[in-house]
């Protein structure tokens, strides 16, 4: 048996699965200040009278780090930064204390100037004075040569915990984002760690000995043990859980749109060839753009509870929520009320919903049913506009070769998966507006928890080989090694695949789930004067987001399991 949990903003969704069958689905409201109690309550409800020792794993998508950041309940962080020449670095200062070192490493990972170690000792003294224990160390181009970050950590000599080094979090170039990502990782470390140990203890108390995995924003998982040193990757995993759930409940092999329509927002994501599309750089968390690998997700302020008004003789939906739908005694008409009037939803008082439509109809000089129809149409138009805009943006992501520019793949969705409260009511409208089939997966109410339960471990690594200088660098693993001049793209590829497989295993992947692939590669001849002096090889490898075993016998989800 597998347990999947999605701890959201107001509710915890949970499922218990066995062999592809959904055994139980539970949803409870909870108070974010007592998240642990909430989780325990959900597990009790899920597993009542069942043998807890038969649970194989628990997968958890949690808002603990997200909330810590958004509510400002983070630890003070001391940042040690090295920016070298370039953009004025003052805007990246984000810790309680920020120290800038005077060294520099250039774009090829060449040490232009060492830093003065006395500066690190000074930083260390200041941090101690201010009672700072969490530290972030980020140097420019550390993904090309992490040696300065590593040296700073050595100099801090174990006096601080954690010490997050920028290169370990992502192999991507982007110094400001690397700074913010390292900062957040150190800032949420303490809260995440205490949550992790509390949950482990609670599970032990309940008799659950199964491994615990945590969902990441890219739709993959990692073991709770690994998550402790990389808590920033657990931020904003909720939308990823829903997208993964959709992929499981209703697999697609082509391009698709995924929509999750909630009370106040609609989240839009995409599948490219059946695989969730990722953010180009990383997710934004509060005010901070980061390098946290994440499933692309865009929120529009439109949901079942959005307030509907009439302005200049026209229906306006949202962007605010003024309360629950009129059918539940709310102050303003909502799309949910329109759906109730149309007989597409059934909750609360139909009379109240009808009255709300009638009020709008009075202003518009229309019958309540017509008003309801117009609201649904309008909602469909708003979603279509958002999807079109996003596709335009995604299809104009920068490319750097003539081949990609002229012949590169574009995302052209062939179908829609829609989940969330009003999904069934909206599906026909969306289908008509986008002119592609719109599917509401069975069990869609539990998509997020199912997504959490069945997602497999993901990993990504970046390998840069510079044969002129004779080095390879794999920042995510802290590798910087000498190579000889005969190193080739072919060797880089096989090395990258092997390393990403090892990485996935460390993060908690089961061997049968590790399908490594190369996602980017390039090889440039380096010419100085009129002679080729070496090759600059760049390879990115990943274990992409995907599904793992269904728990117990069989890996195929059967017809029953979908019900």
């Amino acid at each position: 048996m597998i347990i999947g949990l999605d701890v959201g903003g107001t509710h915890i969704d949970a499922v218990l699965l066995r062999g592809g069958h959904v055994l139980e689905v539970v949803k409870i409201p909870y108070n974010p200040s007592t998240i642990l109690e909430g989780i325990c309550e959900v597990i009790n409800k899920l597993t009542q009278k069942r043998d807890l020792s038969r649970i194989e794993r628990v997968n958890l998508s949690t808002t603990i780090s997200t909330n810590a950041v958004l509510e400002g309940r983070t630890s003070p962080v001391g940042m040690i930064l090295e920016s070298g020449p370039g953009v004025d670095p003052s805007f990246v200062a984000c810790g309680k204390e920020n120290f800038f070192l005077d060294g520099y490493i250039d774009h090829r990972g060449h040490e232009v100037a060492p830093f003065r170690e006395a500066l690190v000792h000074e930083a260390s003294r200041r941090f101690k004075e201010k009672g700072i224990s969490a530290v972030g160390v980020v140097t420019k181009f550390s993904v090309r040569n992490p040696s300065h970050e590593i040296r700073v950590k050595e100099l801090l000599d174990g006096d601080f915990y954690p010490v997050t080094m920028g290169h370990a979090l992502s192999g991507k170039l982007n110094f400001p984002r690397r700074v913010f990502t390292a900062y957040l990782n150190s800032a949420v470390y303490e809260r995440f760690t205490s949550f992790a140990s509390a949950i482990r203890r609670a599970f032990e108390d309940m008799g659950i000995k199964a491994p615990i995995n945590v969902l990441k924003a890219d739709g993959g998982t990692m073991s709770l043990k690994q998550a402790i040193s990389l808590p920033v990757h657990t931020i904003l995993s909720g939308p990823a859980a829903s997208v993964m759930g959709c992929c499981i409940l209703s697999p697609a092999s082509e391009d698709a749109v995924i929509m999750d329509v909630g009370g106040t927002t609609t989240d839009i994501s995409f599948l490219a060839g059946g695989v969730p599309l990722l953010e180009k750089q990383g997710i934004r968390i509060g005010a901070y753009p980061t390098l946290v690998r994440a499933i692309f997700s865009f929120s529009i302020a439109l949901g079942g509870d959005s307030a509907v008004k009439v302005a200049d003789g026209r229906v306006v939906i949202g962007p605010r929520r003024e309360g629950p739908p009129a059918a539940l005694g709310g102050p303003e008409p909502t799309p949910s009320d329109a759906m109730i009037v149309k007989g597409l939803l059934d909750f609360g008082s139909r009379e109240r919903a009808y009255l709300a439509m009638k009020e709008l109809g009075f202003v518009l000089k229309m019958e309540p049913e017509v008003v309801a129809e117009i609201i649904l149409e309008k909602m469909g138009d708003m979603i279509k506009n958002a999807v079109d805009g996003l596709l335009m943006e995604l299809n104009s992501r920068p490319v750097y070769t003539v081949r990609e520019l002229l012949y590169g793949k574009r995302i052209e969705p062939r179908e829609v998966r829609i989940i969330g409260g009003p999904a069934k009511a909206l599906a026909p409208v969306i289908e008509r507006k986008l002119k592609i089939p719109c599917v509401v997966p069975d069990n869609y109410q539990a998509a997020n928890a199912i997504g959490a339960a069945l997602s497999r471990t993901t990993a990504e690594i970046t390998l840069i080989a510079d044969t002129a200088r004779g080095y390879i660098t794999v920042p995510e693993l802290g590798i910087r090694q000498k190579i000889d001049g005969s190193f080739t793209l072919k060797r880089a590829r096989s090395m990258a695949l092997k390393l990403v497989e090892e990485r996935a295993a460390i993060l908690g992947a089961s061997p049968e789930d590790i399908e490594a692939e190369i996602i980017e590669e390039s090889c440039f001849n380096m010419v100085r004067g009129f002679y080729t002096v070496g090759k600059n090889i760049r390879v990115k490898a990943q274990v992409k987001p995907g599904l793992t075993g269904y728990g117990g016998e069989g890996r195929e989800i059967d017809a029953e399991g979908r019900k």
């Binding site: 370039g86 953009v87 004025d88 440039f524």
Partner: protein
């Protein structure tokens, strides 16, 4: 987070799959480290900086500027159409008001491409700025434009194309032609009879540094631009004046480029040359981007930057002072000088030998410009080259009078195909292009 003072559009297209040849300066690797720097600096996250993929230029866009011999498809690759398209994309973003300024970091470059083209010349086939500018004029109406070419090489192609067009003031600042390819660009090259004085050449001595460049900008280029009062300023932003450039001899710096950009304040910049791909381009491009966006560039310095080592020789300041005075005097008295030179003439003939270094071909050209009281004058070009082509090309300028239009069409119609390998007509009034090959 950083926020641009000027909204800036960036067409950053390094064309990682295009090279003239594997070890040529124009090779795949050229903008590799520049892209690394731009990405590492997080330029894409600066609020108000927007990245664009290039569009692809169309045949029509090329025909407004060039005579390709024998035809476009024989000479021009997809990469050239993308580079020109990138410049068009940058211009469009500015003209449509999406951004205040735009920078097309595209390759291959274009400023050595003349009106007539037989092949690659100085790494260029298509003059991307001219293609962009004629697109702008055709789409958004007439514009008075200054093109300031700050590449280290004389922008001889752009000069050729705008030689007789007073709506395009072309100013080229470059290393003295006596010491560098293409060997032209002297102050005496001053424009044709319809636009005498609207081509300005400022040859600088080798080893001119920050001080000299900025002196020329402040004391000559900006005053001339002010007098001209253009609608649009375009910068052909070549970066081979850098002290580390392997094929030139100047002492310019990333700081210098950024300051120069800030002072010139162009609406659109287009990358031209620049072949110090590690030591200069990452920093120079970053400096230009920040300057265009109105952001602090004072921290952008080459890792080995040492102002003492690259200070220009003392005599240069005095030399430049006299040079600027002399050129400004010419600019102010251009109308009188034009009268003296062209009064009473009915046509002006220029004979040119144009060498295509990349393909080792010599072109012999005779360009005849009609001196017309009603317009800038019909242009007729007879050209032949080692490849065996011998062509007649007729350009009817944008401002042509009815008689020059007629004359141009008649010349095209009546030319005997037996005398030429190809006869071409570019009618810029009616946006037409015809060829008899």
């Amino acid at each position: 987070m950083l926020k641009a003072v000027n909204k800036l559009g960036l067409v950053f297209f390094p064309a990682f799959d295009w090279a003239i040849s594997p070890t040529h300066p124009e090779r795949e690797e050229r903008l590799l480290y520049t892209l690394d720097q731009v990405q590492e600096e997080g330029v894409a996250d600066i609020e108000g900086v927007r990245f664009y993929n290039p569009s692809v230029a169309e045949k029509k866009d090329i025909e407004r500027v060039h005579f390709c011999v024998p035809d476009i498809s024989s000479l021009v690759t997809e990469s050239h159409m993308v580079s020109a398209g990138g410049a068009i994309t940058a211009a469009r973003a500015v003209m449509e008001g999406e951004v205040r300024k735009a920078f097309a970091v595209v390759r291959p470059p274009g400023h050595h491409a003349h009106r007539v083209i037989y092949g690659d010349r100085g790494f260029c086939i298509i003059n991307v700025e001219a293609v962009m500018l004629e697109y702008v004029r055709r789409t958004y109406g007439p514009r008075r434009v200054v093109i300031v070419d700050t590449d280290c090489h004389h922008g001889d192609g752009t000069q050729d194309i705008y030689w007789n067009d007073r709506d395009t003031l072309f100013i080229s600042i470059h290393q003295d032609g006596r010491t560098l390819y293409p060997g032209t660009g002297f102050p005496e090259e001053f424009g044709g009879p319809g636009a005498f004085g609207y081509t300005i050449n400022i040859p600088l001595p080798p080893q001119t540094g920050e001080e000299g460049f900025l002196y020329v900008i402040e004391n000559l280029v900006l005053p001339i631009i002010k007098d001209y009062s253009p609608d649009l300023i375009v910068n052909s932003a070549g970066q081979d004046n850098h002290y580390t450039d392997p094929i030139t001899n100047m002492n310019f710096t990333a700081q210098g480029y950024a300051k120069m950009t800030q002072r010139l304040n162009p609406d659109i910049a287009v990358l031209e040359g620049g072949y110090s791909i590690e030591g200069a381009l990452p920093y120079v491009n970053l400096g230009i981007i920040l300057a265009l966006a109105g952001l602090d560039y004072s921290h952008v310095k080459e890792p080995d930057y040492d102002p003492e080592k690259i200070r220009q020789p003392d005599w240069i300041a005095e030399y430049l002072k006299r040079l600027c005075e002399e050129i400004y005097r010419r600019w102010v008295s251009k109308e009188d000088a034009a009268k003296k030179m062209f009064e009473g003439k009915d046509r002006v003939v220029r004979k040119k030998r144009i060498y295509y270094d990349t393909i080792a071909v010599m072109e012999e050209q005779e360009e005849t410009i009609k001196v017309c009281p009603a317009c800038s004058g019909l242009i007729t070009i007879k050209s032949e080259c080692d490849l065996g082509y011998s062509i007649l090309a007729v350009t009817i300028p944008r401002d042509a009078c009815a008689r020059c239009i007629d004359e141009g069409h008649r010349a095209y119609r009546t030319a005997d195909p037996g005398d030429y390998s190809g006869i071409y007509l570019q009618d810029k009034v009616n946006d037409e292009y015809c060829a008899k090959i």
